[in-house]
C-alpha cells in the first residue's frame, strides 16, 4: 500500500501504481500502450465508468488516477467528490474547456487527447514527485486507518483538490467541516470528527470542540491569564485553545 510502503525517500524509485478511468476502450488501451514504455508505472486497473472506478480505487488504492473528465453517469469531478482520500490526479480530456477547470481544482496535471509521449512523461515525473512527498507527509502513520493526503472540495463553481498540509485550520459547522486555506473556506460534507480520525496526528491538533489546527502553520503561541493558550496561525487567524487541550499542547511543544 502506498501509505505504509517503503517508498518514503525521494531517491527510491517508487513504482507508481496507476488506475486508468475512461469510458472509451480505445482511449484506455491507448494510454495503457503509452504507459508500457515507463518501467516505473504499474497499471493496477481500469474503469469504464464512475461506479467501476470507485470500486477499483477502494480495492487497489492507486497512487495516481488518469481520469477522463467526461464520463457517463457523472463527470470526473463528481467522481472525486465521492472519494474520501484523493490520490494524485491527472485529468485527461479531448478538449481543453475542462482543462481550465482542472487547473482551478489544482489537479496535478491534465493531458489533452491524443496524448503525446512527451507530455505523458512530464506528467509522470510530476506525479512521482507528488507521491514521494505524500509518503513523507505521513511518515508517522498510526495503526488503523490510513492517513488522508488530499481532499476534494467544491464551493459553487469552484473546486479544489487540496493537500492536507496546506490547510492551517478546520472548523466544525454542524455535521460539516469548513476548511480554511489560502483565502478560501469551502465546506466539506464530512464531520470534523470523521476527518480527525484520518489526520496525521503529529501535524494536526484539536484546539477546542470545534477547531483543528495544523501545527506546521503555527506562528506564535501566547499565554492567556486564565492559563489557556492562544495560537496565531500563519495567514492571520487566532485560535483559542481549550483549557484541557492547552495542557496537552504545552506538553507537545514542551513549553
Amino acid at each position: 500500500m502506498r501509505d505504509g510502503g517503503p517508498t518514503g525517500s525521494f531517491q527510491g524509485v517508487g513504482i507508481l501504481r496507476a488506475l486508468i478511468i475512461d469510458d472509451e476502450r480505445l482511449a484506455r488501451n491507448g494510454l495503457r500502450r503509452l504507459l508500457r514504455s515507463h518501467d516505473n508505472v504499474e497499471i493496477v486497473g481500469e474503469a469504464a465508468n464512475p461506479d467501476e472506478a470507485i470500486r477499483a480505487i477502494h480495492k487497489t488504492c492507486p497512487d495516481v488516477l488518469f481520469l477522463d473528465v467526461e464520463m457517463p453517469g457523472c463527470n470526473g469531478f463528481e467522481l472525486l467528490e465521492k472519494l474520501e482520500d484523493v490520490p494524485v490526479v491527472i485529468f485527461t480530456t479531448a478538449y481543453d474547456e475542462y482543462a481550465v477547470q482542472a487547473f482551478e481544482v489544482s489537479a496535478l496535471d491534465y493531458l489533452v487527447k491524443p496524448i503525446t509521449p512527451e507530455r505523458l512523461a512530464a506528467s509522470l515525473f510530476r506525479a512521482q514527485k507528488a507521491v514521494a512527498t505524500f509518503s513523507r507527509d505521513s511518515a508517522s502513520k498510526t495503526a488503523g486507518e490510513s492517513v488522508l493526503h488530499q481532499i476534494f472540495v467544491r464551493d459553487g463553481d469552484r473546486c479544489w483538490i487540496v493537500r492536507l498540509t496546506e490547510i492551517p485550520l478546520m472548523e466544525s459547522e454542524g455535521s460539516y467541516t469548513r476548511l480554511h486555506f489560502s483565502g478560501n473556506a469551502p465546506l466539506v460534507y464530512r464531520s470534523l470528527t470523521a476527518i480527525e480520525e484520518r489526520l496525521e496526528p503529529k501535524a494536526f491538533f484539536r484546539a477546542n470542540r470545534s477547531q483543528i489546527i495544523n501545527l506546521n502553520w503555527v506562528e506564535t503561541v501566547e499565554n492567556e491569564l486564565d492559563g489557556r493558550l492562544v495560537v496565531k496561525l500563519r495567514g492571520g487567524k487566532d485560535v483559542e485553545i481549550s483549557r484541557r487541550q492547552s495542557r496537552r499542547l504545552r506538553e507537545l511543544l514542551s513549553l
Partner: protein, 357 residues
C-alpha cells in the same frame, strides 16, 4: 433616392453623382440669375451683359466657396451651417455689388454708384444668396437622412450575415479530438479500421467545409454525412452506440440546411448515449408529408438530462437558422418520446423548383 435600396458602394457613388449634379445646378441657376439680371438692368446692353456676368459670377464663386468651406470644415448639421450661411448671405451680395461696380467703372467708366440702385441690388443679392442657402440646406439635409438610412440598412445586413455565419453549426472540436485519439490507438490495434476512420473523417470534414458555402443540401447528402459522423462515434462508443435509419425514399431529394441533422445527431449522442454507461440507440426517420419534410432524430436518454446549457445552445442555433431561412414555415422541437427516449423533430417545407427563397 428612387425608392430602391442601394448597396453601400452605390450610396457612395450617389454622393459623387451628387457632386456632378451640384455643378450642373450651380451653373444653370447662376446663369439663369445672370440672364434675369441682364434683362432687369437698365442702360446699354454691353454694359448690362458684363455687369450682370460680374455680379452673378461673383455670386457663383462666393457660394461655391461657401460650399467648399462647409465641406472642408465638415459642417453637416443644419445648426452648424446656419451661422456661416447667414454671414455669407450678407457678405457675398456685398462682394457681388463690388464686382458689378468695379466692372462697370473700370471697363466703361460708367459709374452707376447711385445709392438707391446699389441698395436695391444688394437686397436682390441677399435674396438670391438666401435662396441658394435654403436650397443647399434642404438638399443637404435630405442627403444626410438618406445616408443615415443606408448606413442603418447596411449595418443591419452586416449583423444579419454575421449572425447567420455564427449560427452555422460546425464540427465540435471535442468530437474531432476524440476521433483523433481513437485513431491513434487504432493505428496499432487495427490498421484497416484506422484507414476506414481516416476516410470517414475526411469525408465528413469535406462536407462541413462545403456546408460553409451552400445554403441547402439534399437530404441524401446530409444523411451521408450523418452516417459518417455516427460511424465515427461508433468507433469510440463501440457497443454502446446502435444506429438505425428509416428513410422514406421520396424524401431523399428534399432540401435542408447543411449540418442540421448532424447537429441533432450530435446532440443525441452527447446528451443521450454518452451519458449512459450502457449506451443506447440513435434512430433517424424521415418522411415527406403534405409538402413538408419531417425528420425525427431519436436517442436513448431522458429529457431531464438533455436541456443542458450547451444542448440548449446547439438547438437554439439550429432553430434560429431555420427561422432565418424559412420564417414560421419550419419548426424544430425536442420532446420525450417515452420514458427513456428523446426525440428531436424537424419539419421543413419542401421547396419546389423555380420557387426562390
Amino acid at each position: 433616392m428612387h425608392g430602391r435600396t442601394s448597396t453601400p458602394e452605390k450610396s457612395q457613388a450617389a454622393q459623387i453623382g451628387g457632386n456632378k449634379a451640384y455643378y450642373a445646378i450651380q451653373l444653370a441657376a447662376w446663369s439663369l440669375c445672370g440672364i434675369l439680371q441682364y434683362v432687369l438692368s437698365p442702360g446699354s446692353s454691353a454694359v448690362s451683359v458684363v455687369t450682370a456676368a460680374a455680379w452673378c459670377g461673383t455670386g457663383m464663386l462666393g457660394t461655391h466657396f461657401l460650399r467648399w468651406y462647409a465641406n472642408r470644415r465638415r459642417l453637416n448639421a443644419v445648426q452648424q451651417l446656419v451661422a456661416p450661411f447667414a454671414i455669407a448671405a450678407l457678405v457675398i451680395p456685398a462682394a457681388m455689388n463690388a464686382a458689378l461696380l468695379a466692372s462697370s467703372t473700370l471697363l466703361f467708366h460708367n459709374s452707376i454708384a447711385v445709392m438707391h440702385v446699389v441698395l436695391a441690388l444688394y437686397v436682390r443679392g441677399v435674396l438670391v444668396v438666401s435662396v441658394w442657402c435654403a436650397v443647399f440646406l434642404t438638399a443637404n439635409e435630405a442627403n444626410r437622412r438618406r445616408m443615415a438610412e443606408t448606413e442603418a440598412l447596411r449595418l443591419a445586413l452586416v449583423a444579419q450575415v454575421s449572425q447567420f455565419r455564427a449560427l452555422r453549426s460546425q464540427l465540435n472540436p471535442h468530437f474531432l479530438f476524440n476521433c483523433l485519439n481513437s485513431l491513434r490507438e487504432l493505428v496499432d490495434e487495427d490498421r484497416d479500421r484506422a484507414k476506414q476512420v481516416i476516410d470517414l473523417l475526411s469525408e465528413l470534414l469535406r462536407y462541413t467545409l462545403r456546408a460553409d458555402r451552400v445554403e441547402t443540401v439534399s437530404l441524401r447528402e446530409e444523411l451521408r454525412a450523418v452516417n459518417d459522423y455516427l460511424s465515427l462515434e461508433k468507433v469510440r462508443f463501440e457497443d454502446r452506440l446502435h444506429i438505425r435509419f428509416d428513410i422514406d425514399p421520396q424524401s431523399l431529394e428534399a432540401k435542408l440546411p447543411p449540418m442540421l441533422l448532424q447537429t441533432l445527431a450530435e446532440n443525441g449522442v452527447k446528451h443521450g448515449i454518452a451519458r449512459l454507461p450502457a449506451g443506447g440507440e440513435l434512430e433517424v426517420v424521415s418522411q415527406v408529408q403534405q409538402g413538408s419534410l419531417r425528420v425525427e432524430v431519436t436517442n436513448t436518454g431522458t429529457l431531464s438530462t438533455a436541456p443542458h446549457a450547451s444542448s440548449a445552445l446547439g438547438l437554439g442555433n439550429a432553430r434560429e437558422r431555420l427561422r432565418m431561412m424559412y420564417g414560421e414555415c419550419a419548426s424544430l422541437i425536442l420532446t420525450a418520446k417515452d420514458e427513456n427516449r428523446v426525440c428531436a423533430t424537424v419539419v421543413l417545407p419542401v421547396r419546389s423548383k423555380g420557387l426562390g427563397s
